[in-house]
């Protein structure tokens, strides 16, 4: 088969459209997915620190307890919950439901409100448990 470079037409890209909630949530779903991908580095480090000597565990603990560590973990929690709710939104669409304009709008807003609310709830609960 001859190697010919096919000039396929390109669809207009992001910059040409007015931002809509559904579009923003779609982009955020991909960004949170990518962030969670690299977040697994922290998970692997934490497990390794628990498996290691006390010094390593204390080092990891000190990092996660610092303001920077907490900020990262707060963002991690939100990315995780947002991506999860975004996934559930996709499950709804997979059944063929939720495609009407007002339903799409509702699902987009609900994903954001839900993820922020759940993140704050998880952190309040964690602080409550810790005392």
């Amino acid at each position: 088969m001859a190697e010919t470079k096919i000039q396929r037409p390109l669809s207009p890209h992001l910059s040409i459209y007015r931002l809509t909630p559904t579009m923003v949530m779609s982009i955020v779903h991909r960004i949170t997915g990518a962030a969670l991908y690299f977040g697994t580095l922290l998970l692997a480090w934490w497990l390794l620190a628990v498996a290691g000597p006390a010094g390593q565990f204390e080092l990891a603990n000190a990092f996660f307890a610092s303001w920077l560590g907490r900020l990262i973990l707060f963002g991690y929690t939100w990315a995780l919950l947002h991506h999860m709710l975004g996934g559930i939104r996709h499950f709804i669409w997979d059944t063929g439901a939720g495609y009407e304009a007002h339903e799409r709008q509702f699902l987009a807003i609900a994903t954001l409100v839900g993820s922020v609310t759940l993140t704050v709830a998880v952190w309040l609960f964690a602080y409550f448990l810790k005392g």
């Binding site: 991909r30 697994t40 998970l43 390794l48 628990v50 999860m84």
Partner: protein, 124 residues
Amino acid sequence: MRTPLSKVRGLGAAHSGTGHFWLQRLTAVANVPLVIAFLIVVVSLVGRGHAAVIGKLANPLVAVIILAALISILTHMRIGMQVIIEDYVHSEGRKVIAVMANTLFTFAIGLVAVYALLKINFGL
């Protein structure tokens, strides 16, 4: 009879299709309960000492949940990142390298995490 379908099959960016989609959804479904369970474990360990954390992660049920979560999450994120690569990396050579790096990264994370979990459970 040859239909035009055979001429285009496998010609998309990924050279495959529904199998990938299905695995993405399967792992997504599995991720929901597994990630929630893992989150509960992590929240219950906030502010606890080394011995308490080891004790919790050495609990058979907790260890099995984390192992299952790792398998599902890592599969999900590997094929998810592959889609991102296929969307944005258009040069065939660079795409192959990026997809390879993606697989190697995922395996490295998995190996380190599983090794640590096994050590916590059997090797301390």
